[in-house]
């Protein structure tokens, strides 16, 4: 492990987090129907991007170390940009407010669409898009 890889992850993580924060402010919290659209938009776009870029960078999904692109962009920016914790917090808030099916639909739906988006991104890159 090189110190430079960690530094790249740090900067990428900071940048990705700032991007996430900016998008969050654009959506100004929950939107129509109390749905946290900012979390959804951030996570789904990030999922598509990681699928696409991982194939583009020819990275095995379980091997993330060693190059600028992997450290800075995949682990750093996309890891900092997307957020699992916020999605869980959104779900917990819905759950505590009594919206159990809403909470379940939100989190399962977001994960399902995210998996599909990542797959779509990967396939697009594979197809040479």
């Amino acid at each position: 492990m090189l110190l430079s890889d960690v530094a790249l992850v740090a900067v990428g993580g900071g940048v990705g987090s700032l991007l996430r924060w900016s998008v969050g402010k654009l959506f100004a919290g929950t939107g129509a129907g109390g749905i946290p659209w900012s979390t959804i938009v951030i996570n789904i776009t990030g999922a598509f991007a990681i699928g696409y870029l991982s194939v583009l960078f020819s990275v095995e999904w379980h091997d993330r170390y060693g190059t600028f692109l992997k450290s800075a962009i995949l682990t750093g920016v996309l890891g900092g940009y997307t957020t699992f914790s916020t999605m869980e917090l959104d779900t917990a808030k819905m759950f505590r407010a009594g919206g159990v099916s809403k909470a379940a639909f939100y989190i399962i739906g977001q994960l399902a669409v995210g998996i599909a988006a990542a797959g779509l991104g990967a396939e697009l890159a594979r197809a040479g898009g």
Partner: protein
């Protein structure tokens, strides 16, 4: 300006913690990515605590930006989770099962921990409810 610095620093530290976990925790032979699982559930717990504390005014906006938006947002990752799950689901029958287990474990344990974190943060803050 300070908000930008807080989110950046928190996010950078969170991402580095996740990276160190990725270096230190090997992916299981069956494909379950333990490092990301740990990063995600720990971040979910911390976000619960931070949110609970913030709701009781134990920490303010700056603390929330640094530790919530920054640290837990940087430490946790949705993209890595769903891409790894996709690859597993698209693999063999055994891979498919691990994929379901992997995403399910993140979801369920993360949910339990964020709830626990909220309760703990609120309990620490006590009755200091926002006016």
């Amino acid at each position: 300006m300070r908000a930008i610095a807080l989110v950046f620093v928190g996010g950078a530290v969170g991402a580095v913690i996740r990276e160190l976990l990725m270096l230190g925790v090997p992916t299981a032979r069956d494909g379950f990515v333990g490092s990301i699982f740990i990063a995600n559930i720990v971040a979910a717990f911390i976000l619960g605590v931070v949110t609970g504390l913030h709701s009781r005014k134990v920490i303010g906006t700056n603390g929330n930006l640094l530790l919530g938006t920054g640290l837990t947002g940087g430490m946790s990752t949705f993209s890595s989770l769903v891409y790894a799950t996709f690859v597993l689901l698209a693999g063999s029958a055994a891979d498919f099962r691990v994929g379901l287990l992997y995403v399910g474990a993140n979801l369920v344990v993360g949910f339990m921990l964020v709830l626990a974190g909220l309760k703990i943060g609120e309990a620490i803050g006590g009755k200091n409810l926002p006016g």
